[in-house]
Amino acid sequence: MRNQWMGSIFVMLTVLAFSPAIFAQTAGQPEAKKAKSAISAPDLTGVWANITESAATFNPKEDPSFQPWADAKWKANKNTDPGQPGITNGRVDLDPTVASCFPTGMPRLMTEVFPFEILQVRDRVIILFEKDYAVSHIWTDGRKLPEDPDPSYMGYSVGKWDGDTLVVDTIGLKDITWLDRIGHPHSDALHVTGRIRRINPDRLQIDWTFEDPKAFTKPWTGRTIYRRHPDWNLEEFISCEDRLLHGGESLEQKAVKEHGQ
């Protein structure tokens, strides 16, 4: 009887001793496959800068077809300053990033003038943004979008390769951000699909579809283009440093206010 116990314990110990190796091996095979697929995936890496004409939005020709509440918000956000030679931004005093120092967030970061860098690793594509030092993780390990993610500024993104195109789906976005730099609003139901393709060695093209059943009456589409800068490194851009340094107001705001404007 005692021998049987000893025998059982011996078997258990043996199993325990070998089990990490078994796990490591079973986990190791798909890892190797993934690593191979990452290497064979099209190369999107590099520092890219926005050169889209009317780069402040995804589609300068057509606004989203808004629900009434969102349309009212858009009319308020829209920059109607006659001194503006081209629309580069929305109403500054209503801009959550410029007026109130909120993070820029996705997808608006893709319409900003500052560059981003794409990195590709085994299980994801990473976009590092110069603006706000923000990071987008696009999971390419086969996972699905979560059912009901908690909203965040960057959202939750998954990607899959369709030939030479990385198809990225993003949901879980906070509605406090603007969708683009000119002030199109969106809700927390926004689903962004970006089809990212390197159309030549130095150009990245992204075709966009925005679905937002709470804010739009139908999907909105657009396209943006980016130029590769092999000699650029990402620097740092923090929106509100001036206000932190000067008591909550930029010196520009103070100069305007002091002279009765």
Binding site: E235, D242, A255
Partner: protein
């Protein structure tokens, strides 16, 4: 003649494209963009900060009074890509700035060109 006109038009269009992003962060509504302002003075300090690098300068006006001006330009990230550093402008430098002044007569300018005492000119702009 037509060619010259076209060149001028293209030149103006390029200038707009290049100069526009100087305002990209906060728009132009606080500025008098209908007039070009020129400010000449002596630098007291250069602040290498976001979202705009700032030059503080003393400007002596026609009546001999010293006005304390602040001049803003692009952000350090875009300036450093054009070869600027926190030492490009130094206290004591005599500089001339060309740009747009804030509305209402405040001593604040957003400049698109800086000319140093030795004649060197720099035109900061975002060049994507």
């Amino acid at each position: 003649m037509k060619k010259i006109r076209l060149a001028l038009f293209v030149g103006a269009a390029v200038l707009l494209l290049v100069s526009g992003p100087v305002f990209a962060h906060h728009g132009r509504s606080n500025y008098d963009v209908s007039a070009t302002a020129t400010v000449k003075g002596t630098v007291t300090s250069f602040e290498w900060t976001n979202p705009h690098a700032l030059i503080y300068l003393d400007v002596t006006n026609e009546s001999g009074t010293v006005e304390k001006w602040i001049a803003e330009t692009n952000s350090p990230n875009t300036l450093s890509r054009q070869g600027w550093s926190r030492n490009t402008v130094k206290a004591g430098d005599l500089i001339t700035l060309i740009g747009h002044r804030v509305k209402g007569g405040g001593f604040y300018i957003n400049f698109s060109k800086i000319i140093f005492a030795d004649g060197k000119e720099l035109s900061p702009a975002i060049q994507n």
